[in-house]
Symmetry: C5
């Protein structure tokens, strides 16, 4: 995630980090060049058909509709991902309080918290398809890699610790409810990670955007003249820019510059729980070059 | 569900799997041909009335409104269906932990989990109106086909097992809450499956789309000339394409290429629960030709 | 509710059941005739002022905004009504399982379920303002017509049965929670039934739509000529059609062809609970002439 | 709240009750007169600049965006207010059942219900800033006016009654949960009542609407001629009408004709609870001149 | 937060407090001046290319789409922040009732309430990054500044007091649930405070808005003539105005004039809880110059 203030004039002109411009520049230039070619042919080789703005008005509205929908859906996925991780933060903090209330033995309390922190890292690693499980091992003493689903195995181990440490009904009920709440947030994240936006929208959106930009010069020749390539470039920037942003945000657990700062969230939880495990709280994660991982 | 990366240039041009193009191509070509006919008559037989863009601007906005609404509603159904299945995944995992905490006898625990897996398959089979109940029989030993509602009967049997295995109030309360949560997600899926989008919208949308595409040539003759059939074809592609996508997504439990991967979700749950039943976890389901069933 | 497949070409042309066309046809024809009159006066009597498309563009956008908003709000009411009834289905199924777990005496169990089914029918009858309470009497033995609010009285009787049949705290807590969940869904339905969309929107929408269609001919004379009445008719169809659909869907518990199939939902619950009461499950309700009541 | 059927032709022409027209008529006429003045100056004194529709198209879209957003936000507040009161209805009904289950002594039960009804009236009085607390005194015997927050004091008294009447853990837990649910709905209503829509939107919307209507004549002179004042009037009607509706609905607990019928909702609850207090249920509140308070 | 009635004519003309106009005026004037320069060059130096409205229609729709989306997302953040604080208000009130029911010793009750009030102030201070922790010290006797996360430490201390004061399972369960609900609302606020809207949207929106306003003169020269700078100024006002409002509302816990009145909300809670601690309730916070902090 990029953490920066509202962009000033310099950033608006030159900011590249966090921008999608570099990735879509080839397409923008290509389409502008094509439109310049159309102009040149129209002026020097043969007169091409000129259309007026009517068909493009509706076309553009439909395209806006597609992009608007996709953008909303993608942002909702991103924000729901963030909300689920916020739920996990709250759940782990509440778990640490509930073991204080309901589990008598200090060692068992510590074991439960360690397994919870291990789960959190394994969940992050699972979502991001990372390979380094050392943070999980550091807390939980195990990365549960022999299990078919490591985060679930960590929660199973946590439940086993609860079964030993909590011997009355209230304790078991309270901690089972907490674990179920964690499991629900976990399944929500996995749902977002494994179910992309329907592929058919991608096809429809990109095909329509290309068609629009390819046909646009025929409508602009009369109205914009030699400004046509500039307008085509701007329209391509706006539409492809939004399409790219959408693509990124719809995968909130990836490692692009716009994805969620899962490392920092895990660190936040570690800072809250470390004192209860008798450890020095690690420093909060700081953005590097405005980027918080 | 189609699982593919962002479409590249080749896919944009040629991807057919997951695209709605093949299904709507006849309509697109038909409407293009009609508009070509209009042009030919206008040029060679008799001058037809030419309209300007004004009436189409509003018409197009209204049409976008219809399609946008229907698209949002359909996507919400699709995503709610996915969310409900995510809830089921979390509930079954939590159930497996709660039987560990609250049910003393191992055989009874296994019975409850087997019935839960049987329920999950029967629920999937019921939603998709499939006939093969063997996965349910494999886990639960029964397909409850003599009952008026097989998934409910599986949950009833699960409750009966809980009544035997859980003898204190906490255990019964915890497992009754979990079962109620499962039943709520189940009823939510059945709601989506049995209540389609209001039929009146389909009539309104399709009638309006046809009217729009049939009248469009009269507005484009002046502005687009012999490009008219191309524009009519594109507009028809955009509008009918969205209408078709909408139709598919509004039935998320069907077996079209864009419906939800219920088989894969059931497999995910089986993988998590199998070790607790002393079984080798089955391999995760892989997409075949980009399609995950 | 109309249950039909995606409309084919024949249905698009001729479907009347479920369509709003018959009801708005007089208005459409009236407005078309008026616009024809305007044309005739303009051509033969005196030249009327001709306007261009500019004022109508903004007007049309504002109108789309109104209609789009009202349509979303109405559909949300319809879908929330359906969701609440889905909640009731799940609650009654869960209630039937919880009495198995928490109520020892079989007669008391049956009494609770019978009162729950009686409540469901009384709730439906109350929402639809029907007079025939025989289904409620059949299950609950009473229609509670002497009470100021029959469905609430049925739930009160259910609670009284719970007070006798459930003698430990867990049982009372579990069944009180279930009853409260039912009461919440009930109050939600009553909220939708007694609180229509603000009347001021109806005035604003219908007044604006009429103004729009009455002034439209002045903008179309130049652009559409003798096609004007056709365009006015289509625009009237689109706008009044959406306004009518909205009106219907915003009353989801009515008995129009687009309202919710409450009879069928009640039957679904009866089918699930009948075996527990030792009765033959009634057959599921089938649509008659595509209409499910 | 206005309770009327779908407006017929007469109502469309003449309905004033519930309409915002009377309040915005001066502005509409003023702006129309100004535009007539512009026309007169342009024709007789000096030629004013004529603009085409291009700048107004974007301007109008942006204005629609503002108004659409504000309208959605206002309606959401109105509907959330209604939902919270529906929650209170369900909570009070459930409370009346839970005291039957969990509180042994009949006098204590009645006391709790009386305090709950007193709370409901005090909450309504607090939201509407009314002075007459007699309904609260009639039920609860006190209006808690010596307390800094009367509705909270009523709930505190209710809790004190629960502390005496409920002596086992289940009873206290159940009634504490119910009270917390009531308190949450109460705080939700107070949130809506004390936090208006951000003031900056009002400035932006009204300033933009005025600018739009003041500049519109310059764009319409060419296109609409002497119909200009009519169009300006209609556009002003549409935009100011929506702005006024929005203003009203965003204060759902006020006493305008479009605010929520809190008196009627309180009466509904009284009708359900009265029999349990041995009282004749009062008649339901009827609309007076279509208005339900 | 600004608390004012609907703006009257004078306020519309001159209101500055709460308005974003002062902040964006330089940009508006700069862009107007630039467009005047374009006009002057076009008239006196060399004829510049004139474009028609077609490219701007689509451009404007896309821009509206961006701004509309961002505005909705920002308002949702603002309103969710307010909802979470409303939840905190309800939770603290319910906590005060639950300690009455579940904690026997009056000193312990007071300690729990004092820690809760301390938490509330620390949470506010943490969100606003303020330095003055005296209100927290006044209630809780400590500002927990030695802890890595002060609000969490306050809740930990509260849990420790519960562990001493509540000795049966029901009490611990009830108070643990309340604390978890508080922690969830707290984590929700922290989520909003630490996760801004994706930076990439800011770049896209501001870059597109500047491009639009810079190119607009070329489209307006023909249509608006010497009114062009006025139109450019208005369009810049509308678009930059909305962008600024959005920026402010997306940080609901800041100290701008449009951010949430956290001081006043804390005071509301203090007023409700003070009598239970034997203190005189402080007066409600009043807006100063229409501003409620």
């Amino acid at each position: 995630m990029i953490l920066r203030d509202k962009p000033g004039l310099m950033q608006l002109l030159f900011a590249v980090r966090g921008s999608v411009l570099p990735r879509i520049l080839p397409r923008i230039l290509g389409l502008s060049a094509l439109s310049a070619l159309v102009l040149w042919i129209d002026a020097n080789v043969m007169r091409l058909p000129h259309t007026n703005a009517a068909p493009f008005a509706v076309f553009g509205i439909a395209l806006s509709l597609f992009l608007g929908f996709r953008n909303n859906a993608a942002y909702d996925r991103w924000w729901e991902g963030r909300r689920l991780w916020g739920q996990l933060v709250a759940d782990l903090r509440s778990l640490s309080r509930e073991v204080d209330l309901f589990v008598a033995e200090p060692d068992r309390r510590a074991q439960i918290l360690r397994l919870a922190l291990g789960f959190l890292h394994l969940h992050r690693i699972n979502l991001r398809k990372e390979a380094d499980t050392s943070p999980a091992i550091r807390w939980a003493g195990d990365d549960f890699s022999e299990s078919p689903h490591a985060p679930c195995a960590a929660l199973d181990a946590l439940t086993a610790a609860v079964a030993i440490g909590a011997d009355d009904g209230f304790a078991r009920k309270a901690l089972a409810e907490r674990t179920a709440s964690i499991a629900l947030a976990q399944a929500g994240c996995e749902r977002i990670a494994t179910t992309p936006l329907p592929y058919v929208y991608s096809l429809l959106v990109f095909r329509t955007t290309y068609l629009y930009c390819l046909l646009l010069p025929f409508a602009l020749i009369d109205g914009a003249g030699w400004l046509t390539p500039i307008f085509v470039g701007i329209v391509a920037y706006v539409f492809f820019g939004l399409a790219e942003v959408t693509e990124e945000l719809s995968h909130p657990f990836g490692e692009t510059v716009n994805s969620l700062p899962l490392d920092a969230i895990c660190r936040t939880v570690e800072r809250t729980l470390a004192p209860k495990l008798g450890q020095e709280p690690p420093p909060p994660l700081q953005p590097v070059d405005y980027y918080l991982s």
